[in-house]
């Protein structure tokens, strides 16, 4: 945290001439790392994983429950990071898929008594996929490429409308949502909140993380890098940019659906907010705060924002939202690439994609 303060002070000291855009991570650390060819990202990822693995050993039960919620929200953050950080689609309605899946599995449990993990998780994932395909198809696959504003407003509206719809729909429990969802089950075993749920969610997060990592480092990931840097340019290469976007949007929706179903069963109830603008915005903040365009940044952002909110609300009961807001503003103003940019250089953040990667590694002694 000391390094963070120092860098912040340095940025503040240099006044308004400092460009806020891309020169962020030029600190001493990334520069040194570029010189030695040292990879920071795997180290950060390893550290986060180790901490996550041993955490429940040191936490009281109620904190493990809290940590589980954070793990699920980190999964949700990944979905938004793919969509915004990698494909450059401003989705202000990511909660729509999160909440739709949550409601879907809640209804399955309430009305059909289906709680088997083997059924509800695939169902929630499928709901996320279907709803994001529909909305994404509508917003992104028009005759002409859709503008950022159109997509941002379209997703925002979708999320808002879903929230209102759920509030007014008696079958969905109206304002109160659907309470007392029974726990997920595997055979006769009930998965209730606690360390087992924590490790279960962490396992899913790790698997999804690895799949996303595979995707964003593939040649498809290179196409996405081109897409967010200069969409028009790569269209002239012959890329179907709108299709690329719709695909990533659907992948993001799928992950959000998975996260939403885990969340619904973990909390034991679903309510209209889960679909709405508040959660949609929250996930944007996780990713901006941690560092969009890096997968681990999304995870770190979710963990830190939730962790800090939890701690602040305990210690500064009345003014904690203001402290949190100021903190978020400072990071977003002075570190537009997020917290991760304190340790991660621009070159490594973007990465390289070619077969030459291996060659280079072999060449280095």
């Amino acid at each position: 945290m000391g390094a963070a303060k120092q860098a912040l002070r340095a940025t503040l000291g240099e006044g308004p001439e400092v460009s806020m855009a891309d020169d962020g991570p030029d600190g001493a650390l990334p520069a040194r790392q570029a010189a030695t060819g040292l990879k920071v990202l795997p180290i950060v990822e390893g550290l986060v994983l180790i901490v996550a693995l041993i955490l429940p050993l040191f936490l009281q039960d109620y904190l493990t429950v809290f940590a589980t919620r954070v793990v699920i929200l980190a999964l949700f953050a990944l979905s938004f990071d793919l969509v915004w950080g990698y494909a450059g689609i401003m989705s202000f309605g990511q909660a729509l898929f999160f909440g739709a899946a949550g409601y879907g599995v809640a209804l399955m449990a309430r009305d059909l008594n289906i709680t088997s993990i083997l059924l509800v998780l695939p169902a929630g994932t499928l709901i996320g996929l279907t709803s994001s395909l529909l909305l994404g198809g509508f917003l992104l696959l028009g005759r002409h490429p859709s503008s950022v504003i159109f997509v941002a407003l379209g997703t925002l509206t979708g999320s808002y409308a879903a929230d209102r719809l759920a509030r007014g729909w008696y079958y969905l429990g109206g304002q109160n949502g659907i309470p007392s969802i029974p726990p997920m089950s595997l055979g006769s075993y009930d998965l209730t909140e606690g360390p087992v749920y924590y490790y279960f969610a962490l396992g899913i997060l790790a698997i999804v993380y690895l799949l996303c990592r595979f995707l964003v480092r593939s040649q498809f990931g290179l196409a996405l890098a081109g897409l967010r840097e200069n969409e028009q340019r790569i269209a002239f290469f012959g890329y179907k940019t709108q299709h690329l976007k719709a695909i990533v949007f659907a992948v993001g929706g799928t992950i959000a659906g998975l996260a939403g179903s885990l969340y619904a069963f973990h909390e034991g109830f679903v309510w209209p907010n889960m679909l709405g603008v508040v959660i949609s915005t929250q996930v944007v903040l996780y990713v901006l705060f941690g560092g969009s365009g890096t997968l681990i940044g999304a995870v770190i952002g979710a963990v830190i924002i939730e962790g800090v909110s939890f701690w602040l609300s305990d210690n500064y009961r009345e003014i904690w939202p203001i402290i949190l807001g100021v903190l978020l503003l400072l990071v977003i103003l002075f570190r537009p690439l997020g917290l991760i940019s304190f340790v991660l250089g621009e070159r490594e953040r973007v990465g390289s994609f070619g077969a030459a990667r291996k060659e280079k590694r072999n060449a280095a002694p």
């Binding site: 593939s218 290179l222 840097e229 790569i234 012959g238 890329y239 179907k240 390289s352 070619g354």
Partner: protein
């Protein structure tokens, strides 16, 4: 049958008529220069051919096919490639990845997700880079290149998809004399498999590398023919003298 044939192209921006019945015909393996005074509509005609602008009227055919209404992506897939006037290499990606990005544009989604063409394209990427004298900088970010080198990288990217026709909008803009000379050299070998349309202010450069020229003035074709014919044309001499 010519490779590219654009006829009766009109383009109106609000009250401004940029093109008024312009035409352009390019044969196979032909280097064609598009010249004219400032504001004569060269770049607009180029954009109408490339699909960056839709002409208000007229028809563009390419390889015996009407492409007037096709999107840039569809034109690229039909074998047409455009190098922008303003360099638009992707600055944060390495040179290597810039070229790979251009080369893999035709790969299927499945191949992209599982990186199945990465190995196959490796030699191709390195050949393109050495052809444009950039091989030793393959792993630098494109932003670190000089302006001239960025232009070469951009030309290499435009050539990556093995286009039948390459459209170059001011390739030597902002280049030193030496860089212009090298650019001319770098372009010569592509004549074997590709035609070229060049919009360019540097008439010496145009004269050195082009086979045929089309001269535009106020949105219309003033003259079209071989370099020698154009040089002998009185009308052309006049507009260049008038504006000089």
């Amino acid at each position: 049958m010519p490779l590219l044939e654009a006829t009766g192209i009109g383009k109106v921006f609000g009250k401004l008529t940029a093109l008024d019945g312009a035409a352009l015909t390019v044969g196979e393996n032909e280097f064609h220069g598009l010249i004219g005074p400032n504001g004569s509509g060269k770049s607009t005609l180029m954009k109408c051919v490339a699909g960056a602008e839709m002409p208000t009227r007229g028809k563009v055919s390419f390889v015996n096919r009407d492409i007037t209404a096709l999107s840039p992506t569809e034109r690229a897939r039909a074998g047409m490639s455009l190098k922008f006037q303003i360099t638009s290499v992707l600055p944060n990606l390495t040179l290597y990845d810039n070229i790979l990005l251009a080369l893999q544009a035709q790969s299927s989604l499945f191949d992209l997700v599982f990186s199945r063409t990465r190995g196959v394209l490796h030699d191709h990427v390195m050949t393109m880079l050495s052809q444009f004298r950039l091989a030793d900088r393959a792993h630098d970010a494109a932003a670190a290149l000089s302006h001239g080198q960025q232009q070469w990288l951009e030309i290499a990217m435009a050539l990556a998809g093995k286009p039948r026709l390459l459209l170059l909008d001011e390739p030597t803009g902002g280049m030193s004399l030496e860089e212009r000379r090298v650019t001319g050299e770098l372009l010569q070998p592509i004549k074997r498999h590709c035609s070229l349309v060049i919009v360019e202010h540097d008439l010496d450069f145009i004269r050195d590398i082009c086979d045929r020229l089309t001269v535009l003035d106020q949105g219309r074709v003033l003259a079209s023919g071989t370099v020698a014919e154009i040089q002998a044309n009185r009308n052309v001499q006049e507009i260049y003298l008038r504006r000089a």
